[in-house]
Every structure is written in C-alpha cells, then in structure tokens.
C-alpha cells in the first residue's frame, strides 16, 4: 500500500526490510522476544481483546508495584458545581486519545464541509458564479481536489454509471460461471432458481454479473450484542403474543404468518421476557426457552405460501374455514363484496323518524313582529311594579309619550272599570266588597286598624311636589291617589280606604291600596330622599366631614381655579402640589428609592398642605378654644353659605388689621400670577358688585337654577331652624348674642326663619341646624380668625359667587335686602380691589415678568 511517494501517506508500524533473494534467511525471532512497547518504551504484554490488546494497569489490577491504596476521601462538596457533568473523557488515559486509542482526538473535516456533500444553495450559487466568471474551470478545479471519502475505485465506478450493489466484473455466460465461481468479484449466492434458468440460456449470450445486496456496515449503536432484541412489552403484558414472523417473500403478510405460525407456545406465562433476560432461579419451568433461538418454522419454505386448501382443517385452519356459518349471509348479498370486507353480522337498527307535522293548507311562513313588545310581559315583573319602575324615571321623560305607550301597552294595566268601559258593560249590581256586608261600626274599626299601620310610613308623601303624578295615565286612579294624599295631609287616618273606588272589587281595591301606599313611600320628594344619598357633582369637595378648614379652603380654591380656567390662565393657579407617599413596594417595583424614607404613611395626607403654610398655623391655639364653633356639630356636610359668612368677616378683619402682614405674605407666598388674576378679575367681571351682571355668566346661571330646583319647601326650614337655634344657644357663648337670639325666638317663628334665609340662604343639608350659631360665633371670634386671612385672597372670588347664589335663592321677596347686601359686598370689594391693584403694582415693580 505504501510503495511510492511515501511522504504522502501515513505509515503504520515498522516497514518490513526489503527482501533480497541472495540474503540468507534470518533466524525467526523467538516468541519471547516478540515484544511490544508503548511510546515510552515500556513493555506491553499482549493480552485479551477487551483492553485493546494490551494489559492495563499493573498486571491487570488497579494497584501499583507498591500495592493498592485507596485514595483519601476528598469532599466534593466545594467543587459540586465544577464536577457536575463528568464526561467519559475525564476517565481516559492519554493513550486513549492517541491515534489508535479508543477516542482519538484529532482534527477532522466534518461532513458538512466536505465538498462531496451536496449543498443546494452553494451549488446554485456556484453555478451562477461559473456563468459569470472568466475562468470557467474554477469550479471544476474545486471538484477535482475534493477530498475523497469513498475509495477511488468506487468513485470511478460511480462515474461510469455504477450504482451501489450492482454486480461488478466482466460479462459472463451462465455456464462457464459454474466452473469459475470466484470469477466474479462478488460470488452470487447460488440458488437453484438461477441455475435452472441458465439451462435455457443461449450459448453466445453473456450476462452481467448478478447484483448483490450491499451489506449494511452502519455501526451498531448502543452497547448490546448482536441479535439483541429489546423487551417485548406485548409479551410482557399479554403473556402471549404472536411470535414474530420473518417473511422472506412477502413482508407484511400477517395472515400468512399466522397461517404458518407453527407451534404456538400455548399460554405462556406473563412477565417480562426478552432475549437479554434469562430465567429466574425460582422459575420452575426449565423447558422455557431462555435464549433466543431461531427456528425454521418461522420462515416460509415456499414462494407465495401454501394454498389454503384442504388438509388444513385442524386447529390451525384459516378463518375462512372456521367461519363457514356466516357464508349463507354473504351469499344472500347480491352485490360484490369488496376484498377485505365482510357483511356485517348485525343489522343496523332502524332509526324511528317522526314526520314533521303536516302544515295547514293556508299556512304562510311569515313571522309578524309585534309592534311594541311589552316590558312587563318580557321581564315577568308584576304590572304594578313595572308601572312604578317606568314612572320612577318619569321626571325626565316627557309624560305624553309614556302615556301613549302605556295605554296601548297591556290589558293587564287596565282595571276592571276601564275594561268595563271598553267593553261597554254595565256596572255590576250588588255588594262589590265583603266589607259592605259587615256592620258599619265593625267596618270602621277594621279600616281604622288597617290605615293606622300605613299612616306611619306614608306621611313622607305629604311633601310630594305638585308636579309629580305617579298614576297619570289613569286619570281616575290618579284622582283617587290625590285624594288619598290630601287626606293623609289632613291627618285623616282612614283616608286610604275612603279614597278608593267603592265600585271596584275587593281584590282590585286591595291591590290599589298597596300601590298607593307604595307610591307614597317611593315618591317622596327628591329633595329629601335623593339628596340624602347624592351630593352635587360640582361640589365634590363637600364630602370630607372630618376636616372642615381645608375643605372650605378647597372650595374656594376650586372657584378660584375655575376662574383661572375660564381665563385660560393655567399654571400655578390651577396647579396644586401635595406630598404623596407611595407604597414601599411600589417604589421597589419601580426600582426607585423611597422618596419619604422612614415614614410609614402611605398615600395622601388628608389635611391639605397649604399654600400659605406659615400663617395658617399661627393662630391655631386660639381656634382650639372653640373647637365646635366653626362647624355645625351634627351635620357632616358643610354648605357654602356658612363659608361666605365666615369669609366676609375674615375679610373685614384682614383689611382692617393686617394689611401689612398680608402684603408681605402675598409677596412671599402668593405668586405673581394670582395677583394678575385678581387684577384681571377686577377688570373683567366684578361680579360681586353687580348681581345682575353675575347672572349673565352661563355657568353661574346653571348653578343658580340647580339651587332653586333642589330648594326644599319653606316649612322644612321652619322645623329645622326652630330646633337648631335652641341647640346652638345651649352650646354657646356670648350673652349678648344669646339674648338677641332668644328674643328672636320669642317672636313669631316665621320671622326668625326669614332672617335665617336672608343671612344664609337655603341650606343644602336641611336635616341639621347650624346657621345661626355659626354666625354668632364668627362674629365673636372675628379677631381669632386672623389665621385664615391668607386664604382670603383666594377665596374672594368664590365668595362673590356664593353671594350671588344666595341672592338668587332668596327670590324676589327679599330683593331690597339683596340690594343692601350687594351694596355692602361692593363696598368690601372695592376696598379689596384697590388693595389688589396696589399689591399688583408692588409686585410688578419688583418682579419683571
């Protein structure tokens, strides 16, 4: 093999010395001198095959010349991570990595990079390049120097058109080939068939050598031996499975394999069995086949198999014989049965089909949609309730449209009287009610008993505004309901029974009674019922019962802000800044440090951080003296009217006493923008001075209207203020004030009410007192309210609005008073505007913006 050009080849072993004829034959090397040495010159004894031919270790032991000592224990605890995945290479000697070792480590061309591998993209690219390039042989060269993977001979043969497995060699005659069996490269596996064919072959015709099936040289994976077959789960579980049949002629012929199944090992025991497993010691059946043994019975001995003919009637008989009985059925079937199919054993059950109902001859498949689906029908609500529900929205929906719908609506909403009217029947004669059969005094007692229970609940309806008519679509019923309400108002306890129609049946009457009572409860005036649940949207700030001061201020601020927004002066006026504490976890999630470390508080401090902070707290102890004073003690809610009062007084105080201080503060704390705003306010709309002008503002007008709508009736105030003044007087303070109030109280009630109204306007929360006492306190503590003077500037605007609102609410009766007040306001305002202008000048002179 290595003859010429030795430098090109790798040479293994020691070359034999050139043989010379004349030299005397050397004495053969004796066996004991035929030694093998490793690369370090150590002797290696030839040994068994499993160590690669040579002994391993020290005389095939793991020891050394000095003996074997176990290595000291080294904890791998520290190196756990390093030793996680040990590879087999870790346990190999360096020899094993050598050229002839079991894991030679050397650089090889991996298959992807050999040129013999057909890379589609590269080929096409190369083809394109070849077209373009000047040197057309470029790619040819590359093909030429391609490293050969298969032997040259094979390559050449392939080029000549040989394909794998084709017979190689000169063409042969059949006859002479028998004399030269080794003539062809691959001797054909002589079979009788081919020999027989040769008999008929002409003398002068030659044939190509026979094809051979190429031997598959793919190495076995895994560590198992030859012929190993894994465990057969089917065998293990079922105990017996059809023995695998090796069919040489027709693969996948299951039936045939069963045909020649030979000795079926009857009723094999279950359990795990496979070639790799022997028999357990406890296994008593020694005849059991332990090792895999091939038997000829598993092969077909004839081409095409035996005909399933006679003589096979035994237990191995094919299915055709065993199933003779079914034949008759097959015969009854006239058509041709497809191969592989048999007729079904059972006949399919007939489905019972129910024919559709026969349509009447005049049926037309058209669906008419009813014009107005009735709500009460659909929802299944009782008509009375549906009616009530519908009517509860009646404040907004125009009544006419409703009425039209409901009268068409449903017959269930008609009472018997209406139905009677529609049908044109006469009224029934005789007693319509059981009550009429009773004695008059009994009846009266019964009615009294009944109505007394209702009365307590239903007197709320007394305050029913006149516009509200729950049974409007049924005039007679509404009339009865009105009658009932009137009687309730007058305190007639039997009013309910008397207002009902005596002509109706007892059932209808009881139903109507229930309806009336329910209606009278449900339809209380919205001012008392609804307002107890809702606050007005614009004044969202009003709900903060616990801190009054910031709330008030907030409200003023809102007005101020509103003014700023209207003038499009966004900026510091509309901007409020609070200290806010984000949750610690939230900061963590945002990867930012806690802005207020150490404060366990989360969220917003309820007390607002004031814009004018310092002076706000100067007079705190004074205000503490009268803790209950500024607040209506029972009502959780504040109304703006109180504030206006307070503000007014504060303003006066301010302007009289603390102008200078204010100025300083203004400069310090109020931004120039607000100054500008106040100036602008004076210029654009001096609303406080002129109530008529104020009302021109559309927003304000709306407000006023709202106020009027929600204004409760007069008598409410009577009740409220009568009691409130008592309470407040008991709780409070200056004798003069008390005396004055008591005098007022001694006078007729209406008068006092009048005064209250004049001063404060209608209160939003009508349930609780608070107007009069507060006023007195305010007056008393005029001097103490100085701490609020800083807010004054901001509040001014709001105050004005409120004043205006109060005027509106008062109505026309008190116009003259209004005027008076307005004048007073205007006086104050003129002072304040002058003040503002002056301050504005100061600011402008100082700051240039």
């Amino acid at each position: 093999m290595a003859s010429d050009g030795e430098e090109d080849f790798v040479s293994y072993g020691v070359p034999l010395e050139p043989l010379e004829e004349d030299e005397a034959r050397k004495r053969p090397v004796p066996l004991h001198e035929q030694t093998v040495k490793d690369e370090k010159g150590r002797f290696q004894r030839f040994h068994g095959a499993f160590t690669g031919g040579f002994s391993a270790g020290y005389f095939n032991t793991v020891g050394t010349k000095e003996g074997w000592a176990p290595s000291t224990f080294v904890s791998s605890r520290q190196q756990k991570s390093e030793k996680q995945n040990a590879r087999p290479e870790d346990f190999m000697d360096e020899e094993d990595f050598g050229e002839h070792g079991i894991a030679p480590s050397q650089i090889k061309t991996s298959q992807e990079f050999t040129s013999s591998r057909t890379d589609k993209t590269r080929e096409t690219a190369r083809a394109v390049n070849a077209q373009n390039s000047v040197i057309t042989g470029d790619t040819k060269l590359e093909e030429l120097i391609a490293p050969a993977r298969s032997s040259v001979g094979v390559e050449i043969l392939r080029r000549m058109g040989w394909r794998q497995g084709q017979g190689v060699g000169p063409r042969v005659k059949r006859k002479p080939r028998r004399q030269h069996p080794g003539g062809s490269l691959l001797p054909p596996a002589g079979s009788e068939d081919s020999e027989e064919e040769d008999e008929f072959a002409p003398e002068d015709v030659t044939f190509a050598p026979k094809d051979v099936t190429p031997v598959d040289f793919t190495p076995r994976g895994g560590l198992r031996g030859l012929g190993y077959r894994g465990l057969d789960p089917g065998r293990a579980l079922m105990g017996h499975a059809a023995p695998e049949h090796i069919d040489l002629f027709r693969p996948q012929s299951e039936a045939r394999s069963r045909l020649f199944g030979g000795r079926e090992r009857g009723a094999r025991r279950g359990g795990v069995a496979g070639t790799a497993f022997g028999i357990g010691a406890m296994e008593d059946d020694d005849d059991e086949e332990v090792y895999h043994r091939d038997s000829m019975s598993r092969y077909d001995k004839e081409l095409g198999g035996e005909e399933p003919g006679d003589g096979l009637y035994g237990w191995t008989a094919p299915q055709q014989y065993t199933k003779k009985r079914g034949k008759s059925k097959d015969a009854s079937y006239l058509g041709k049965i497809l191969e592989g199919f048999t007729l079904a054993q059972k006949t399919q059950e007939l489905k019972t089909i129910f024919p559709p109902p026969s349509l009447p001859p005049d049926f037309r498949p058209i669906r008419r949609v009813r014009a107005s689906p009735d709500v009460s029908h659909l929802s299944g609500v009782s008509p009375a309730l549906a009616e009530a529900l519908r009517l509860s929205r009646g404040h907004m929906v125009p009544e006419e449209s409703q009425q039209g719908v409901s009268q068409q609506g449903s017959r269930h909403q008609l009472d018997s009287g209406q139905r009677r009217a529609l049908l044109g029947e006469d009224a029934l004669q005789g007693p319509s009610s059981v009550l009429e059969l009773l004695k008059p005094e009994d009846r009266k007692r019964l009615m009294d008993l009944r109505t007394s229970t209702h009365n307590s609940t239903s007197h709320d309806a007394l305050r029913r505004p006149d516009g509200f008519r729950p049974f409007d679509e049924n005039p007679s019923k509404q009339a009865r309901y009105d009658l009932y309400l009137n009687r309730l108002k007058q305190g007639d306890r039997a009013g309910l029974e008397q207002s009902l129609d005596p002509g109706m049946t007892e059932w209808e009457r009881s139903r109507e009674r229930d309806e009336f009572v329910r209606a009278s409860i449900l339809y209380r005036p919205s001012s008392s019922f609804l307002s107890s649940r809702f606050t007005r949207a614009r004044r969202g700030e009003e709900e903060q019962p616990e801190e009054e001061q910031p709330g008030k201020e907030q409200e003023v601020v809102v007005d101020d802000q509103q003014a700023a927004v209207n003038m499009k002066l966004f900026g510091k006026l509309t901007r409020e800044t609070f200290e806010w504490h984000p949750d610690k976890l939230l900061c963590k999630r945002f990867n930012i440090p806690d802005p207020h470390p150490g404060s366990g508080f989360v969220g917003l401090h309820k007390v607002k951080r004031d814009k004018f902070s310092v002076f706000n707290f100067l007079s705190v102890p004074e205000s503490r003296d009268t803790p209950a004073a500024p607040k209506p003690p029972e009502s959780g809610r504040r109304s703006r009217w109180d504030q206006s009062q307070q503000k007014e007084e504060q303003k006066q105080k301010e302007e009289e006493e603390e102008k200078k201080k204010e100025e300083e503060e203004k400069k310090k704390e109020k931004d120039p923008l607000s100054e500008l705003l106040s100036a602008a306010r004076n210029q654009t709309a001096n609303r406080a001075e002129d109530p008529e002008r104020k009302s021109k503002d559309p927003d304000e007008e709306e407000e006023g209207e709202e106020e009027e709508e929600s204004r409760p009736p007069l008598d409410l105030f009577k009740a409220i203020f009568a009691s409130s003044s008592d309470e407040s007087s008991s709780s409070s303070e200056e004798e003069e004030e008390e005396v004055g109030r008591e005098e007022q109280e001694k006078q007729a009630l209406p008068q006092s009410v009048k005064q209250e109204e004049e001063e404060f306007g209608p209160k939003l929360p009508p349930a609780l007192p608070g107007g009069a006492p507060r006023r007195s306190k305010d007056k008393k503590h005029k001097s103490k309210k100085q701490h609020r003077h800083k807010k004054e500037k901001k509040k001014k605007k709001g105050k004005k609005q409120e004043h205006r609102d109060t005027h509106k609410k008062k109505g026309k009766k008190q116009k003259h008073r209004e005027k008076k007040e307005g004048e007073g306001d205007s006086d104050e305002d003129t002072v304040s505007t002058q003040e503002l202008l002056r301050r504005l000048k100061n600011v402008k002179s100082r700051e240039t913006w």
Partner: protein, 317 residues
C-alpha cells in the same frame, strides 16, 4: 470633520388608509399598539380581546375570559404578557402565547376604564369608575393591590405611566400626576371632565382631552398651558387623544367621525382624517413609525404615511 446637519424632514401624517380590519367582536372599545408596534390589541364589546398583526391584518389570538366589555388593554414591554380591563370590574393578566389567564384581579367597585403596565411590567395600574387607581403587583401572588390612589373625586377615565410618573385623568376635571421619585402629587385643574391623558414622548408635557371639546397641552413641571386644540367634537363620549411619534402633532378622536390632527406648535389643524360616519372610539399611534390605528364601531383602521404598495415594496427590498 463635521457632517452637515441632516435636513429636517417634513413630518409625515398618517393619511393613507392601509388596512381596515373587521374585528368581529362587537364594538371595538379600544385599540392599542403593542410595545414595538408590530401587533394590535383590540378590545371588543363581546368580552374578547384580540391580537392582530399590523403588517398582514391577520388575527393571531383571541383572549376570552372577561365577563363584560373589554375597555382597555396594554402589552408588556417584552410582549410576553397582556393586561386588560373590563366592565366586569376586573383586570386580567394574560399570557400572550397560550392565551391563558395568568391572573384575574378583582377589587374595583366599578367598571375599570383604563389599564397600563409600568415600564418593566412589574406593576399594573388600573383606573376605574369608582374613582380609584389601583396598582397591582404582577410579580407576587398577592391579589390585593399594592396601593390604592383614591384622590380622584370621580371616576378615573384615563391613565398613563411613564418611567416613574403616573398620570391620571378624572371626570372631576383634574389631571393628577403622581411623581413616585419625588413623592409628590400634582393636581392640575381643567374643569371639564377629562377623557384622556397622555405624556409627550419627551416627557415634558402632558396632553389632556376633556368633554368641552378641547385638547390641552400643559407643561408638566409648572402646569402652564402650552397649547389648546379645538375644532373637534367631544361632548359625551370617552374618546382618546394622543401625540404623534415625534411630538409633532396632536391627534384626537371626534364624535363626527374624523380624526383631527393639529400641529403641536402652531395649533393649526393639519389634517382632518375622515374615518367614517360614526364616532371614532379610540386611536393609537405607532411608537416609532408614522402609523395610526383608529377604531370605529366594529372595525379597526390602520393608517400610514404612504399608500400600501410602496410599503410593501419597502418591506420586500
């Protein structure tokens, strides 16, 4: 050696309709781009949330699990999670790939109007009709919110998160900005109910649209108004507004079926995009490209600066 300044390009506007997708999920309440702008999230009134491909307009996934209309949705920065909120007062955190509900967060007392992840998708903020903003932890198994921000006096209609700031718009007419780093709350009074708030891309301005048919651009630090944009109609519905990708334009939905696009600096109407006859419910601007999503009734429209053909060529080369 300095190169000449690149000539500033004329900002392009998304005025060509590239695609119109029929979402088949009832009215599309909101439509949103995901973080990188390759996918669309559409919130349907049939309780489903759908994920679409922008380039092909194909439906990729439907997320169903809500009990009522889905009102808003947002995708996390890594596209692995979605969050959505619904009228059923709950939020759902979705796994994008499997479409499974990772977490369902309940606690709001009213329908949840808006929802958004923070930058790292570690917190979800949700604003609800009950006037609270709740922050939910996505990392822990806790089902209670981390913090409840109940400063709003009325329903919270919109919120946005940018870095360490949370911007909320409420029906009480106030825009609140929570600065987590400084620990401060800034409240800007707008007076009219706020429908939508946005941060500008540079983070210096806030945009707020309100029911007085006005969109206002406010300076973030001082609260001063930098611009006011009017002309559209926003009287009764909660419609979206947004800024274009490079802060060059202000866009807003309108009830007259157009999308109005104003020049940010000049305040002049730059484009009046006719979408259809009904109300443009929602819109979303692509984070990087000139691309706009609008939704009207049951359809979502994709708008681009150039007509479709050129776009496709651009993709092909």
């Amino acid at each position: 050696m300095s190169f000449p300044e690149p000539r500033p390009q004329v900002p392009q506007l998304p005025q060509h309709l590239l695609r119109s997708i029929d979402c088949q999920q009832g009215a599309v309440r909101a439509v949103r781009f995901n973080a990188d702008g390759n996918y669309i999230l559409s919130c349907g009134s049939d309780k489903s949330l759908k994920l679409w491909s922008v380039s092909r307009g194909t439906l990729l996934k439907t997320y169903s699990g809500h009990g009522y209309d889905v009102l808003d949705a947002d995708g996390s920065f890594d596209n692995s999670q979605l969050c959505s909120c619904s009228s059923d007062k709950s939020l759902i955190l979705w796994d994008v790939a499997t479409g499974q509900v990772t977490r369902k967060l309940r606690g709001h007392a009213g329908k949840v109007n808006c929802v958004q992840f923070n930058e790292e998708a570690s917190v979800i903020f949700s604003g609800s009709l009950d006037g609270t903003v709740r922050s939910w932890d996505t990392r822990s198994r806790r089902f209670e919110p981390i913090q409840i921000l109940d400063e709003a006096r009325d329903g919270v209609s919109s919120l946005k998160v940018a870095q360490h700031e949370l911007l909320t718009g409420s029906v009480d007419g106030r825009v609140r900005r929570y600065d987590l780093r400084k620990g401060q709350l800034h409240v800007d009074f707008i007076s009219s109910p706020i429908t939508c708030v946005c941060f500008s891309q540079d983070g210096q301005c806030t945009l707020s649209s309100s029911l007085d048919s006005t969109v206002r651009l406010l300076d973030k630090s001082t609260g001063e108004m930098l611009g006011e944009y009017t002309g559209h109609k926003m009287k009764g519905y909660k419609l979206d507004c947004c800024l274009s990708g490079k802060d060059t334009h202000v866009l807003s939905c309108s009830e007259d079926g157009h999308v109005y696009c104003w020049d940010l600096v000049e305040g002049s109407l730059a484009l009046k995009l006719p979408v259809g006859k009904a109300v443009v419910q929602s819109l979303s601007f692509h984070p990087t490209e000139t691309r706009l999503l609008t939704s009207m009734e049951g359809r979502v429209q994709v708008w681009g600066a150039e007509p479709e053909e050129e776009e496709e060529e651009a993709i092909a080369t």
